[in-house]
């Protein structure tokens, strides 16, 4: 199936490693020009070079701290200008889990929620111009089922699911689709689950047992789902929260 992404432009935040990197690679492999970035200068440059070399597409790679609202806005505008327009926006950065202090709430609000909202607002004019604009927000199964503890991460991911649906209604008439992909546990080298496997093997095994298919997902599998929702092939789909978790969650979604 041709997804119809070739020659189009995408911005993916937090895209030097893990799920964000896999999404950038996947979209680039479809022939999209991509803007990538993370806080780390060297990691951003290295990832940009690797993606460009692997896929022969135009890559905008500059460091970006999404907590800095002005710098983040400038980074997005520079990316859109450099790529020459925008068709797909994937706000992927997260402030991560933790229940250490109230700071976790501020962090997840600022990074998970506000970075998505600010990003959408900055990108929407260009996405409307695209005619096939798509925003794919990254949620989490932690939002829809109890996981670990009452973490800010879980609650803020839930906020994103609600925001995603209502934004999708708000912009539906402008030719922009908005969807969420909620991954279950995703295992990759340098990911949280690799550390949990090493430091808390019992917890890791416990979570693994809750996945009927017996394995966690990979970043590439999440990227496939994101690529579909981002593409004109999913032209009818907007406002959904697509759970990609290999059967980890048990609720009935009607």
């Amino acid at each position: 199936m041709d997804l119809g992404l070739k020659g189009k432009n995408a911005i993916i935040t937090g895209s030097t490693r893990g799920i964000g990197r896999a999404i950038a690679e996947r979209l680039a492999s479809e022939g999209m020009n991509v803007a990538i970035g993370a806080r780390d200068d060297e990691a951003t440059a290295a990832a940009g070079k690797e993606i460009a070399e692997a896929h022969g597409v135009k890559v905008f790679a500059k460091p970006c701290n999404v907590k800095d609202a002005e710098a983040y806005k400038a980074w997005l505008e520079a990316a859109i200008e450099d790529l020459g327009g925008l068709d797909v926006f994937v706000p992927n950065v997260s402030g991560g889990g933790g229940m250490d202090s109230e700071k976790n709430w501020w962090r997840n609000f600022e990074i998970d929620v506000l970075h998505t909202v600010r990003g959408a607002e900055t990108c929407l004019p260009a996405l409307k111009e695209s005619g096939a604009g798509a925003i794919v927000i990254i949620g989490s199964t932690n939002a829809v089922e109890t996981f670990m503890g009452p973490m800010a991460y879980n609650a803020m991911k839930a906020a994103l699911v609600t925001y995603s649906k209502q934004l999708s209604q708000f912009v539906a008439g402008k030719g922009v689709r908005v969807n969420t992909v909620s991954p279950g546990p995703i295992y990759f080298e340098g990911g949280a689950w690799e550390m949990i496997k090493g430091t808390m093997p019992k917890m890791y095994e416990g979570v693994l047992k809750q996945i009927p298919a017996g394995r966690m997902g990979t970043p590439e599998e999440v990227a496939n789902v994101v690529a579909f929702l981002a593409s004109p092939a999913a032209s009818l789909v907007t406002g959904v929260n697509l759970v990609a978790d290999n059967g980890f969650t048990k609720r009935v979604q009607l």
Partner: protein, 438 residues
Amino acid sequence: MPEANATNPPTGTVDMTPLDKAPAPELPNDIIAKERYTDADFMRLEWERMWSKIWLLGCMEQDIPEAGDYVATEIGHESILLVRQADGAVRAFYNVCQHRGNQLRPEGAGHAESFQCAYHHWEYHLDGTFKRIPDSETFPQGTPCTGLEEIPCDTWGSMVWFSLDPDVEPLADFLDMIPAHLDPYQFHKMARDRHVTVEWDCNWKTSVDAFNESYHVQGIHPQLLWHLDDLNIQIDCYERHNRYIIEFATLSPRVNQPPEIPMGIKHLMKEGGMDPADYYGRVKDVRADLQAHKREHAPEQGKDYSRLHDAQLTDDFHYLIFPNVTMNVHADDYWIFRQRPHASDPNKCYFDIWTFNLVPEGEEWPDPPEFKQFRHGDRSIGLVLDQDAANLPGVQKGMNSKGFRGLWIGDQELRIRHFHKVLDDYLYGPGGKPDGAL
């Protein structure tokens, strides 16, 4: 390698723990005889030429704060009374009545006005001299001696040391560089929070070895790879004693940097008053920032780090005080593991866990913990030590196997090699180990 932060030097530069790397000892790469861990004759040789000749850790000064407080501690087949005197000094005696040889006190701590033998009530003053002998006129030969058999006793580092050798060298000479290295931590400000003895089915050296190399971290403590750098370690061997310095609050080069801060590092941050929430995705920044944070906030936390280098605020400075005291020393706490040989069985030992926490200025000194003794496996002693303990009986069993050729020691285990060299010097005289000797 851990080193002082040159751009932000601590407040003092004298009387601080030396960080310099000691010259590498020249030691052969030969196999180490497994019989050293299993042989009863070798065990006797250790007793005669080593245990009976050196200074031994007996108890902590905080165990016996008041005159009359005492600890009866055992080493091999001997039991020793360590007694706080009216003048504040500590004296050590064999824990045995001079009448018929009955032991005066069971192992453990207590308080006494005098030591009366339970058998015929011969009674001794706290200084060991006779107080009363019932029906003394019925001993036409008089009293057997002046009282309890006294042995050398001294203190350093808030610890009480004794020796079974009346002609032992001064404690300071035996300890060598140890006080210069460890006094900056101010052990007298640290209160005991754990006092446990576990009976282990292994030779005392099997246990000592387990703490003197970091090579086993990737083997039996995989979780610590997200807590410390097990590969870039400074190993320093001195005349008798040795140490290594392990960076904590960092990652092993063996693992990928995770986005989340690992639990163990979070714990160190919280102990230092830092919020891990700020460090998501930045675990590599934690160690240096934690050092700076602790240094900056020490005064308001009632802590004095003025004699400690930045590295000491996070890292594990691990010392072996030859032969049987292994210590993990940190700015806010330290742990003493004392491994004592069994009285007769080379396949058994006693593993004493003594841990201490810094009591910040202005805070009340806590009550001492209850002493517990149990056999390995009966209770947990914490995840990391459980992992060590679970492994040791199997090591000891293997040492007794015909199919095991002997210890094949690598560079990461240099301290084990050094330890055996020092042991040989005691057993056979410096450099005097005969060919073919164990």
